[in-house]
């Protein structure tokens, strides 16, 4: 695949229908290694459906998904995860009865292909435990690593949702509204953590908060009614009048546009 080579994640003419509704409409998309990409769009634009198609939670109606140039369209979630595609969920998908330590230990065991071992105690793999602790400390979960996940405050659960996706060191990480529901004061921490992720990891951020989007993203895709509407560098997308019209509140964009280009005295 010529359009798939050189990109870690790509789609070709991806379509997903729910009955009469087209949630994803002929999306051809490509993500280079190390990307800092944001996927935005108004409510109901099909952002989460698109992420579900990429990660294999949903099968596409037609079209293909490529991971590292390989057609993974028919692969189940676990196989894509093993091939280096990781994701967080908009609504926490955690193991309530586990501790953060067990959770990350589990994710790392799988990443190290030790997850099916049945004749040794879990937690005896030094490499896994050390790495798990390191990740937990890095994501500010060190002090609660032996607590039950279900009883952690929401902000901590949200961090764990990121930690579990980051732990296997994926090539591509899809962050589905990582700051959703997190109180204003704790959003900064999430953004800092996302910004500190390894450079070579390609990141796709689905987010409503334009502050986060414009601080984080180098490139942006705008989805409208399931189709790719505009795509390009963040600054261009912000300046695109069509984008303002369909999606971004004028004032919101104005604000982000004005900041970096203040010397030009604003646009249009």
């Amino acid at each position: 695949m010529s359009e798939a080579s050189g990109s870690v994640l790509a789609t070709k003419n991806l379509v997903r229908r729910f009955g009469g509704l087209i949630a994803t409409n002929d999306v051809t998309f490509s993500l280079p290694a190390g990307a800092r990409h944001a996927l935005i769009g108004p409510n109901g634009a099909g952002k989460t459906t698109f992420v579900n198609l990429l990660s294999g939670v949903l099968p596409p109606t037609s079209g293909q998904v490529f991971l590292d140039g390989q057609d993974v369209s028919s692969w189940p979630v676990f196989k894509r995860a093993r091939a280096g595609l990781s994701r967080t969920f908009q609504i926490n998908q955690l193991f309530a009865d586990f501790t953060p330590l067990e959770t990350i230990g589990l994710a790392l065991s799988e990443a190290h292909s030790e997850g099916a071992q049945f004749w040794r105690r879990a937690g005896t793999s030094r490499a896994v435990v050390d790495e798990a602790v390191a990740i937990l400390e890095q994501l500010d979960l060190g002090d609660v690593m032996e607590h039950r996940v279900g009883s952690l405050p929401y902000g901590k659960q949200r961090l764990l949702e990121i930690a579990i996706a980051v732990a296997p060191k994926p090539k591509v990480l899809l962050l589905d509204e990582p700051a959703a529901g997190v109180p204003e004061g704790e959003r900064e921490q999430i953004l800092e953590i996302v910004e500190a992720l390894p450079k070579e990891m390609a990141l796709v951020l689905i987010e409503h908060d334009m502050d986060l989007v414009f601080r984080f993203a180098k490139t942006i895709s705008v989805l409208v009614q399931g189709a790719l509407f505009v795509e390009g560098p963040a600054s261009e997308v912000a300046r695109d009048p069509r984008v303002r019209q369909v999606y971004l509140g004028e004032s919101e964009v104005e604000h982000h546009l004005d900041a970096p280009t203040a010397e030009k005295g604003g646009a249009a």
Binding site: V129, A132, Q138
Partner: protein, 344 residues
């Protein structure tokens, strides 16, 4: 980045290692339970036959706890493996005629376990195709098929008359099955104990942790790279093998196999026992089996006509008001005694 984090957190690491070690540690109530169970054979030799039934039931319940409590597969037909194991062991002992390898009880257990593991593995693919309700129907259906097959194949199974001439040899070539059932009980209890240790080890392994993960959240389990169905195939296979060994114990210690081993009530009873004892605790199976059998005996003696009513009432109350069954109660008590917050 990671390196510096590790250096900064030497304390965290050893805390984590200690945490994992602590989790899988044997606790004193566990030792007490097993020592007590073995002591029963010598304290109350006259009740050995009853204890034997409890040990077999406990192993059967343990097998369902692996399937239901850890893999989260709802099965209403687990008796199929119990019955299959019983018939395999019975037929072997019959073929061996009391001497030789085929009548060797340990060999019988092994072959029954393997046979059920094979059948369990094959049927696991059918069971895993659907969600809970489908699984319920498929397991039930498989059990009904087995029961009818045993009924029809009277030339092999003895049909409604039962399998006659089951003659198990001496245990390990030394101990004979006595009339009072003491050796039978010790034999069943030892089997239960050994298989329990194996189950406990497997449950505390990465494989066991991944089963709990799948039960907790299958979507996330897949997203961290767990091949959910393959793990469940494995768990179902282990559960089937354990149930087969339990059935084999019954055939050997009673020297008889009837169609009753495949009856629906066995599948239903064992599910009650697991829920009664506490799902996903391993010990719940043992405590539940003992409590169930004791209640049954007490109630049947006290109110021969209405025992089912009282048994039902107790079950309903327990399930409604005590989360986690008997083990939920025991765990709470243990934590209060030791002042710990951890799970028992």
């Amino acid at each position: 980045m990671i390196d510096t984090a590790i250096h900064a957190t030497k304390g965290g690491e050893s805390r984590a290692m200690a945490y994992f070690a602590e989790r899988a540690k044997w606790r004193w109530p566990e030792f007490a339970l097993w020592i007590g169970a073995f002591a029963l054979a010598f304290l109350f030799p006259s009740r050995a036959l009853l204890f034997n039934e409890v040990a077999i039931l406990a192993l059967f319940a343990l097998s369902l706890d692996i399937v239901l409590g850890y893999a989260g597969i709802v099965s209403l037909g687990h008796g199929a493996f119990f019955g299959l194991g019983a018939y395999v062991a019975g037929l072997l002992a019959k073929a061996g005629a009391g001497a030789g390898l085929f009548s060797d009880p340990t060999f019988g257990l092994l072959i029954s376990g393997i046979a059920c593991a094979v059948v369990g593995y094959i049927t696991s693919f059918l069971v895993l195709r659907g969600a809970d309700l489908t699984r319920l129907m498929v397991t039930l259906g498989v059990a009904l098929i087995f029961a009818e097959l045993a009924n029809r194949m009277a030339w092999l199974t003895g049909g409604a008359d039962g399998l006659q001439g089951v003659m198990p040899g001496k245990i390990l070539g030394i101990f004979e099955f006595d009339l009072y059932g003491r050796n039978a009980y010790l034999y069943s209890l030892t089997t239960l104990f050994l298989l329990f240790i194996v189950a406990r080890k497997v449950i505390n392994s990465p494989f066991g942790v991944s089963l709990r993960a799948i039960k907790g959240n299958a979507l996330r389990a897949g997203a961290v790279g767990i091949n959910v169905n393959r793990r469940l195939n494995g768990a179902y296979t282990i559960g089937a093998a354990y149930a087969g060994v339990a059935g084999a114990l019954l055939a050997q210690t009673t020297a008889f196999v009837s169609l009753d081993v495949l009856d629906f009530h066995r599948s239903a009873d064992v599910m009650l026992i697991v829920i009664f004892g506490g799902v996903g605790t391993l010990y719940g199976a043992i405590v539940g089996a003992a409590a169930f059998k004791m209640l049954y005996d007490l109630l049947a003696a006290a109110t021969p006509q209405y025992w089912q009513f009282w048994l039902g009432l107790i079950l309903v109350l327990l399930v409604l008001f005590v989360r986690g069954g008997v083990m939920g109660l025991v765990g709470g008590l243990y934590n209060r005694l030791t002042g710990k917050g951890g799970a028992a």
